[in-house]
Symmetry: D2
Subunit: 342 residues, 4 copies
């Protein structure tokens, strides 16, 4: 039984980690911290966990995690980088669900996140926790940077095409639609019910922090990648729908086979039959990225449809998947539940 801790358990990735860990047969949640709510029972804040999580939030400190094999950081950006070194020195492995270790090129990170990085040497050590790209490295990692929600959906949509040189790498457009939980559990007029429901809008068109993350990872597959990334806010709680466009190069007739082959053994990527249109609800609550590939001959473009639950495969579920890999467990342990439909 692995002993795990969560730093910052009052946001949506924190509660989702607890929901998933509550059903995990080989991991036990030992401690969960929150500076603002220390002393409060977890199930007072999150009554869905009544009788399942019998912990109080405790003060964050390195001692708090003394017994843990692993700590998840479900915190705002720049929190994990301040504490990572001390935890690692104490023999505690670490998965950061925020962005502190996602971007290898530190100046780029500092530009987009508006802060000086506290531990560039750990950025170098950190493994980008997308198992479909970095499974072996994750197994041995002390420090995993859990990918962003949008990057997971977009990168998984493009790996087969880029690995096989089948698209113009400068032509990529990722038009992405996200549920509101991606904005976090905050007091904010802009994400209040009456402002979000019954409406759709794009945001951050000139530039979103997930853009440099996606670009860096994709440039690892093809150094010429450039892309447009447009996030949209949807009136749904959970779900990302990435609609990815790219100009085709060469023959397109084997593209369906190619995706099916490449992802055949992936437990959490599901290539739909040709002609499909995946719905985000089919992955609600599930650690799954469901993908369909369309080729449009008149425009000679691919349109890849990629859906995930931003809190699961896009955050907490992928973090548990990474934990499973880091500790030699069955990669699917605790992650087999189907999506909730309806």
């Amino acid at each position: 039984m692995i002993k795990v801790g969560i730093v910052g358990g009052t946001g949506y990735t924190g509660i989702e980690l607890m929901r998933l860990l509550a059903s995990h047969p080989q991991a036990n949640l030992e401690v969960i911290t929150s500076r603002s709510l220390a002393g409060t029972a977890v199930d007072e804040l999150f009554p869905n966990l009544r009788s399942l999580v019998d912990l109080n939030f405790s003060e964050p400190s390195v001692n708090a995690y003394g017994d843990c094999d692993l700590v998840f950081f479900a915190t705002p950006n720049t929190t994990a980088m301040a504490q990572a070194a001390e935890l690692l020195d104490n023999g505690i492995r670490l998965i950061d669900l925020a962005a502190d270790f996602r971007i290898k090129h530190v100046p780029t990170w500092e530009q987009w996140y508006g802060a000086t990085h506290a531990c560039p040497e750990l950025v170098e050590e950190a493994v980008y926790g997308l198992p479909e790209l970095n499974r072996e490295a994750i197994r041995g990692a002390r420090l995993v940077a859990n990918p962003g929600c949008y990057p997971t959906a977009v990168i998984l949509a493009l790996i087969p095409l880029l690995k096989n040189g089948m698209v113009d790498p400068g032509s990529i457009i990722a038009d992405c639609k996200s549920g509101t939980s991606g904005a976090g559990r905050n007091a904010n007029v802009g994400t209040s019910f009456c402002e979000v429901t019954e409406s759709v809008k794009a945001y951050a068109v000139p530039g979103h922090r997930h853009l440099p993350e996606i670009r860096e990872v994709l440039q690892g597959l093809d150094s010429d990648v450039e892309l447009v990334f447009t996030p949209h806010l949807m009136p749904i709680i959970r779900g990302i729908h990435a609609t990815v466009y790219a100009d085709a190069r060469g023959a397109a007739d084997q593209v369906q086979n190619l995706y099916e082959e490449l992802y055949r053994d992936e437990p959490f990527v599901d290539v739909m039959p040709a002609g499909s249109h995946p719905e985000t609800r089919s992955v609600r609550g599930a650690n799954m990225c469901r993908i369909a590939i369309h080729y449009l001959p008149a425009a000679n473009k691919y349109v890849i449809l990629s859906v995930e639950d931003n809190l699961v495969k896009g955050a907490a579920g992928q973090a548990v998947q990474n934990m499973n890999l880091m500790f030699g467990l069955d990669e699917t342990s605790g992650l087999k539940a189907p999506g909730m439909m309806p």
Copy 2:
């Protein structure tokens, strides 16, 4: 490993049964029937089950269930009563998620359901599958009538008060709010997105089929019970919120203790701390009825708030709970997952 079948797997209770059974460690889904979709792969209709349910819908017939220990009827009313005797004769036990066996008084059933009952003798044998009332009888039953969604929430709200004679039995009002999945998976203008969302309405105020069911069960606790039952349609997928009013009799100061005591050992009834207001989302996807009790001195009335997921504790989850009891399994087997919040 129990072998189970589902009759009529294309509705919301059918798909929810599959979702729950997919994670059940001691039951295996062997067959699922649908007259209209025989031959179609289940996961074509319900892609959330891809890789988890590897079955095609098959033609309904008694032979189809030959190997099954238990068959769930997730069918429209009047279907189960036509097939029950033959299945029971073949040694197959049966849980009906529709209404055919819920009401013991057959003329009442016939009046509300507008049909002649096909097997009144089986109505007598059938056990009303509310474990909190009939646990022992369920264990030995061949035929279980799974309660309606509204009745489950309303009855659980009232058991402690009625058992202890603490309310005027003629004063009960159950004002209930239900998610739209309670109306089933049908092609119907009235339940289309644009007609339901951003609106609230009462329906069936003069009389709803769940009224005689609730009344009969409550009259088993106090023969003087009369009640008003007002269902409302809510723009949510899942969830019932019952707000139950009753005139108090005698001292009210021990009511919180009373509820806590009576439900202390119930795995799927959660009495909230005094003063609470349960939210339906706290039980989304979970087999749980969460209850809070308020006493209003000025009006000398109790207000009991009772929430459940109509598809889980109000239908498929309760059916699995009944199956667990019928086959001597741990009552909570396959039913421990927390609600999905957010």
Copy 3:
């Protein structure tokens, strides 16, 4: 052309006033104030008003309203009472959409609102702005207390029964369901999209500020009135559905006629045909309260269904209706647009 001002135009009643006034043929919005946003263009905050409202928010002060015939207070509670006397002294009439002048019994107000009232003498002068009760008094009023959203729906549901002594006045229960805009335009985790959508909950069961308001008005019709009032939060933007229960006294066969007669000449109360179930969406955006009356013989109770848009007949629309009366305009001026369906 009446000249009007709005104090506190950044909340939902403020923007709704602007929406309605933009189509009003006899009133012109001259000034709108907001301490926090002084200098900002109104249509920057509310782009639906681009090209229709060409004003900036200005600093609140009595001088700001110098030219106005009427000022609407769309402010938090306790704001209007601090400024009312000065405005009235300057010859400006006033409609308060908050609660400062709604309750005549000042100690009750002070208890529920947790403040000392700044001008009890104006409470006495103020007219409770429910035209269906106080039309004549409103015409001559300098100061109108615009009713609360819940009170409007509940009181209109009960006037005919109470005026005619047809119910037990101690038996009333008002089970009310409200859209989230009733909670205002605030930064608040509890009203954020992910916490509200796909869920239903009761709140303030032990006591809500609209309870004493409803009680006082109803006691004006029958001094023995006592009631239970249970508000619920719904995942809709606009709409209140009041489901009102009361024990019948005497014969019930004329109740439909009674409602139709009493409200025959009311432009903004619509009595539906017998047996109806009004939907909140039928009044979305419209200044209308739509009512249906049911009598249940078995329980000898009335169930009255009453729907309104909480921002229109429950707030800004009723305020415009009051303005029309105060200034001798056609009562329906600017208020004839139908509800938006779908």
Copy 4:
């Protein structure tokens, strides 16, 4: 006062026409037909129109419209083409809100709509009713083809760029998100509440009927236009958000001015300030297309954000705008109401 009729008044464009016409000072609805509901009161189906529309649905026939100056066809495709000639022969002008007369190239129409066109000669005569392109022709037209909802949003987004040769005409991608009312008022599992809400999906990626319509109109501006058009279904009632991408040609620094200039006098196109992100809710219920233009230097692409209410500027509102033009009225008559926010 113009006398108008509506054919097929039971769908969402029909009811929206009635909502708009109810507030129109110069048009009077004389007749509304529906084969299936002949004899039923309009306000029984649509209670928001109680007291505002005092008509019964009548049998469709040319005599039914005898007094009308104009008839709107709010019918399924292929209905208007069967009746158009006879109405025109009787001196009645006609606006078709369906697709029968939108595509000039009849073989293309026949291919996409799967029918033989009944009156190709009227296709030639018909004017495509986008006032921003064809205002003068509309004024004199007997027969107007009201544009599709998606085409309106996409074409208005692109006119300035294409007219000025500022984009590669072969590079256009229109990623569009639509509210569910665009699918019509039908009994359909796929558009039921529980299947649509809390989910997002693309549909018709290989080809949607609005693609040839958009292409033909845009090719009128630049004959080399080719485009990808991807519609997505959103869990909102009303609203289209078109996110349009195109490769820039030449200098981009004047693009904001260009849009502002070109649309300066358009009453129903609103160019937002540079850097804006329009929300669909800002045009809910309003006859307005709100547009923002972004230029992304790294990718050298334009991203144009274009929002409308699919039932208003995308259907019934534009039809009324066309009616105003055809009959020499103020183009904005009956169309000045602001969007409903929140």
